[in-house]
């Protein structure tokens, strides 16, 4: 219990530091939201002054940050400068797409990556070589290339999948998100396969495995009890880190497939200096990151109780 409490307190500190850093960095970057508030060439000096006052663009940095923090603590994340909508509403409508996309990709990465890694590690031989080549290919191909290729082949060419959009209703959404999820997961799955293969190989040669073999245990039993369990620690670590990275990494995929996710909202908000949105998305991302890591730690304790001491 105290373990959980400590982690939650840590989360609060991380959130505070992250929000301060991001706010500060956005503040330092030249350029401002005026072009999005008044257009490029419209704007009389009186208008500019009125708008700057209305959005408190001229207040000192600390004052702006603190007033944002105060509002945020009471659950008010403010409204978007550019869209003049509540941030909560803007984010709320986009969270579902991102969560589903990341969840879908996680399943693909875990299932695909671990299966490929196990096959390569346990079977060896030609299959190992084939998987090695395949995973190199996946690792070396950036997602925007994969995405465009998949869309051209499977959507425009064969017409199996839609070109864009998140779809409606769970099944339709999953159907729409298939190509994006594959795009998002290929490189991570390949990476995970590599790690799985390496750690399985390492365990297979460890002394306790040889001892078990010498004592005449069946190969199945050895693999299950002595190899997989020990090999799973690095696999869980990599999976956890990968998933946390997916949330931010989904930006490119969301753009290629025109999905209304958090990633595209985030990048657009940064370019438009839309502070309220940037801050809120950062908080969501950091929270997700910390929570996933917490989950990974809990998995460690289950796999190897010594680690949680």
């Amino acid at each position: 219990m105290s373990f959980l409490l400590k982690r939650l307190a840590g989360l609060a500190v991380v959130l505070l530091v992250a929000s301060f850093l991001v706010y500060g960095l956005l503040y330092l970057v030249p350029g401002g939201p005026m072009a999005f508030l008044l257009g490029n060439r419209s704007g009389t000096p009186e208008q500019v002054a009125a708008i700057r006052a209305q959005y408190r663009l001229d207040d000192p940095f600390l004052l702006r940050y603190l007033s944002w923090l105060g509002d945020a603590l009471t659950g008010d994340f403010g409204s978007s400068l550019v869209y003049r909508q509540e941030v909560a509403a803007l984010i709320g409508s986009r969270v579902a797409t991102t969560v589903l996309l990341v969840g879908y990709a996680t399943v693909l990465i875990s299932a695909g990556g671990i299966a490929m890694g196990l096959l390569a590690g346990l079977r060896g031989g030609r299959l190992d070589t084939a998987i090695g080549v395949l995973s190199s290919l996946f690792l070396a191909t950036p997602p925007f290339v994969v995405g465009v290729l998949l869309a051209i082949v499977f959507s425009v060419g064969l017409g199996w999948f839609p070109v864009f959009g998140p779809g409606e209703g769970l099944l339709d959404r999953l159907y729409h998100l298939t190509l994006p999820a594959i795009t998002l997961s290929l490189a991570s799955a390949a990476f995970l396969a590599r790690i799985t293969r390496a750690s399985v190989r390492e365990e297979l040669n460890r002394e306790h495995v040889e001892t078990a073999r010498a004592r005449g245990f069946g190969e199945r039993h050895i693999v299950r009890r002595h190899v997989l369990r020990n090999a799973s620690i690095p696999v869980v670590t990599v999976t956890g880190l990968n998933i946390a990275g997916l949330i931010a990494g989904s930006v490119v995929v969301e753009n290629i497939f025109a999905l209304d996710g958090l990633g595209s909202l985030f990048v657009r908000a940064i370019l438009q200096r839309d502070f309220a949105i940037v801050q809120a998305v950062v908080l969501v991302l950091v929270t997700a990151f910390v929570l996933i890591n917490l989950l990974v730690d809990l998995c460690y304790s289950a796999l190897d109780p010594r680690l949680s001491r």
Partner: protein
Amino acid sequence: MIRRAVPLAGLALALAACGAGPQTQQAPASAAPVALDLKTSTAAAAKGLDKVTWNLPYEPQTLDPIRSFNYAENTALANMCESLLRLTPDFTIEPGLAEKADNPTPTTWVYTIREGVTFWDGKPLTAQDVAASLKRHLDPALGTWWSDYFSTVEKVEATGPMQVTVTLKQADVLFNQAMATAAGAIVSKEYAAKKDLGSPTGGLMCTGPFEFGAWKSGDSLSIVRNDAYWDKALTAKSKEIVFRFIADETTAVNALRSGEVDGQYFYLPPAGLAQLRESTTGSVTLGKSLTFWTLLSAAKDGPYADPKVRQALSLALDRAAISKVVFQGTAAPQRTLAGAEYWGYERATFEKAYQALPQETQDLAKAKQLLTEAGSPTEPITIAIQGSAATHEQTANLIKATGEALGLKIDIKVVPVEQYGNLYSDPKAREGVDAFFSTWYGNVPDPLDIYTVFQAGGRTNFNGYPAVDADIKKARAEADPAARAALVTGIQDKVTRDVAWMPLNNLPVILYMSDRVTGAVPSFPYLYYPWAVGLGAK
């Protein structure tokens, strides 16, 4: 009158990072002149459809008319909210929600509101609604994007149940013409007071042929037919138009080719234009346009402040090559900033003045001579371009090569997408920049709408061009078309000969429609005219 909807388009490019720019070829020594077949209408639809899916180049920031001054916003808004006057697809201005516009004294415009028009909720349109809508432009806190047209407005009053009077501080013909754009769009009085007017939650209440349906932030915007629309000639054929917001060009092109999206307007040729042209499931139409590609001058000193240097560079430029290399053959070389589409009155006068101007073709010998006369400057000229924008980079490379051929040193300064907008608004951002590229458009068929940027002290007179200020003021106050045309051609002559800004190419509207649909307006007024009413099946 501007526009560059670039920040988002640029962002999409940067993100997808596919670098799928049009293939850069070396400019041919002499490209054949481009003759473009530009349309103002497409084949009429035989019948309506239940649903047409249309793509916008990005999600509108808002549909609030006073802040709708950009491509996606106006493309959607034009079908819903009508203005006092109407800009037709062939660039004429006719009565809209105002039956007539009178000009009893030079500084008064009296609008008689059309009887029998109702809002979508059934309430009748009155002078109160019109006054409330126009007054929103006068409140600095609401932040209108149309302040250029409202800077001369003193007050707006409902002077009768169906009459609105606008009093100007000084006579201004552009104000009345602007009432044919979204600047003159009317929302109901009740909605005009709403804080979230035009947002996904606030919606709209107007009189147009389509009603605001639903706007799912980030996903889609749907508009549905208004069956009680007053103008029977413009009742919509199809029941519903669903706008999607695919910002990534490659994805948009794929969606169009696969038929998932029925059509889209492009303000710049997409990298995949060739694929669209060869598409077996749809076709590309080029439409007459008020948009042009230009090099804006910002130099107050140095070589580029010398008209002779600007003339030399302009004369040496191969505009046909720019069209071919940068715009994939979709742009027409221009000798003036405001082309023939702007001649909304006294066409003969403008035509004659245009013919008398130096041609837009290359003349290297004369260019070299002018440069010698200017003292063969050795100081470099700095041109700012927008990062990750293929049109900017490619045009800059062509101009740089042209300068080198002349013996003029040209430096390119890349400005990131998100800071490029500051060049327009912030003199500090323009320091050390002699010129920068922009797409630009006027909103009404009057060349004065363009040349008014050279008014002294104007926010867009970046290089402080001084020669035409008095004439612009006179022309804006001149109600008589013939007298105004005489003044405007005079202004055009000076501006063009001095190359105050360098005209490059006219940019036609690029309209793609799948074979499933036809009937959209292909010309520039689609930004202010209900272009989708004719949309339907072949």
